[in-house]
């Protein structure tokens, strides 16, 4: 067990060091969330005037929760890109040879992703607060939102790392990022679920991200609902994706 954690610690330290010392990795992961926040919360605030739009914390808060969840999910995808780059550079293959407990590699990358999104999520939160976001939830509610965001990040990281272990090339970036991007957009991004119409309403209804998002918005507004369902969905995603990432790891081991 000690060797498992020492492998995880080494991978985490390297990944965090790479992220913290490389502006080329920091800037893109900050640019898009801030841009989405500005474009959607700033440009679309009039959407809150649509009849029956009754989110009491305001449109900036409404959009912030989506941007936060998107940031942490895409943070998982960026970790997948890092794994792919490690394979291209030969580091990952040497790591597979040297690590006594290879499962620790996955845990290490999860730690990297959590640290990355703590930073990017923090910056997005500060930007939203500066833009006048209302926070009506209590400290416990905010902890709930942070907990949900952390679980979403772990799930997205498991998916992205699993895909990167299977593909082992940066050219697979499209396959790593697109499903995450699509899943976050096929949720009630601009208006609550009850105001969606046509096919998007049906798709959003069956998309687990919808329930995570709506509960997150509830936390921020101080009236969370469906908390168990949201945490259940987030946890279930992780449980489903653990075999996926282990499958990816076995595939990478077999490839040598």
């Amino acid at each position: 067990m000690k060797s498992f954690f020492s492998v995880a610690g080494a991978v985490a330290w390297r990944g965090i060091h790479n992220f913290a010392t490389n502006p080329a990795l920091i800037v893109p992961s900050l640019l898009f969330p801030l841009f989405f926040l500005a474009a959607f919360a700033g440009g679309l605030s009039r959407v809150s005037n649509v009849p029956n739009f009754d989110y009491k914390a305001g449109y900036t808060a409404f959009q912030y929760v989506w941007v936060l969840l998107q940031t942490v999910a895409v943070g998982g995808a960026f970790t997948g890109f890092a794994v792919a780059r490690d394979f291209e550079g030969g580091f990952a293959r040497r790591l597979l040879l040297a690590a006594p407990r290879r499962g620790g590699i996955i845990l290490g990358y999860i730690c990297v992703a959590l640290v990355r999104v703590s930073f990017t999520g923090g910056v997005v939160t500060v930007a939203a607060l500066l833009a006048g976001m209302n926070v009506l939830g209590s400290g416990v509610d905010i902890l709930g939102l942070v907990g949900l965001a952390a679980l979403v990040n772990v799930a997205a990281t498991l998916f992205a790392v699993g895909m990167a272990l299977l593909l082992r090339t940066s050219q697979g970036g499209f396959l790593i990022q697109t499903p995450i991007f699509v899943a976050t957009f096929l949720a009630p991004v601009f208006v609550p679920l009850k105001l969606l119409n046509n096919w998007i309403e049906t798709v959003a209804y069956f998309n687990p991200v919808t329930y995570i998002l709506e509960t997150g918005r509830g936390f921020l507004a101080g009236n969370p609902s469906g908390v168990l369902l949201a945490f259940g969905f987030a946890a279930a995603l992780i449980v489903v994706l653990i075999p996926w990432v282990l499958f990816g790891l076995r595939s990478a081991e077999k490839a040598g």
Partner: protein, 259 residues
């Protein structure tokens, strides 16, 4: 223009068009991504038409300008990346040793982008019509819309070429895409300017030329023939093309001088 220059332009244009259409990694994202984002936003923001004063009751019609202009951004990246590859692989250096005229080289490289712009506008318009969009300006309006989109693609293509000639790196050209995308979203693309509530955003959108480009295209779809909006749209697209082509010509001169 001498016949030799025309022959050179024809050869390079053919190469440019073939290079674009033979690369699925250029064609597929240039068609798929704008449509994907268009689909998500049109569906998710459908209720926006219930905002008092919204100019149409179909958000799909309102948003159809989105893929048409966003597709042009892909053209910029495609043109820039292709030209940067020519620099990286030494093709431009070898070409500079031949009697090839720089005008022919530049025009040739941009023809592929304009062809891509044409394909994109036809595909996006067809998809829009399938999903119930009615072009208020009629068939002639649709043709004008295609011309305006191609002019926009030419302008953005020129900007991509400038970047490629300045940096000589495909990665640097691709790195500019997020910035172009930001300028695109900070416009009236998602809501009409008079319905943008946040003051700073409305001010940015008012000074952002992309807003007028979008409004020119949109006017043909949801209003009919609106001379003022159309004139502004063509002025922005024409200005963009002028800046893009003259900037690229100057950059090419500088690049060939250094070669």
């Amino acid at each position: 223009m001498s016949s030799m220059v025309l022959t050179q332009m024809a050869s390079l244009s053919r190469r440019s068009v073939l290079r674009v259409f033979r690369q699925p990694e250029i064609i597929v994202p240039a068609l798929l991504f704008p449509l994907l984002i268009f689909g998500f936003q049109a569906a998710g923001l459908g209720s926006a038409t219930k905002i008092p004063g919204f100019p149409t009751n179909s958000y799909v019609s309102f948003l159809l300008a989105f893929p048409l202009v966003q597709g042009s951004l892909f053209s910029a990246v495609a043109a820039g990346t292709d030209l940067a590859r020519d620099i990286e692989t030494g093709f431009l250096n070898r070409l500079s040793l031949t009697p090839m005229r720089p005008t022919a080289l530049l025009a040739g490289s941009l023809v592929g982008v304009v062809a891509l712009g044409f394909l994109q506008s036809v595909v996006f318009l067809t998809v829009g019509i399938i999903f119930g969009v009615r072009i208020e300006a009629g068939f002639l309006g649709a043709l004008v819309l295609i011309v305006l989109t191609m002019l926009t693609a030419l302008g953005f293509g020129g900007i991509g070429a400038i970047l490629a000639l300045w940096t000589g790196s495909g990665e640097a050209v691709q790195g500019i895409f997020p910035l172009l995308l930001v300028s695109f979203f900070l416009s009236s693309i998602l809501l009409p300017r008079d319905l943008i509530q946040t003051d700073w955003f409305r001010t940015v959108a008012t000074y952002n030329p992309i807003s007028y480009l979008v409004e020119g295209i949109r006017s043909l779809i949801i209003t009919g023939w609106d001379g003022h909006a159309l004139l502004l749209g063509f002025l922005v697209a024409g200005g963009l093309a002028l800046v893009g082509i003259s900037g690229a010509a100057l950059s090419l001169k500088g690049r060939l001088g250094r070669t």
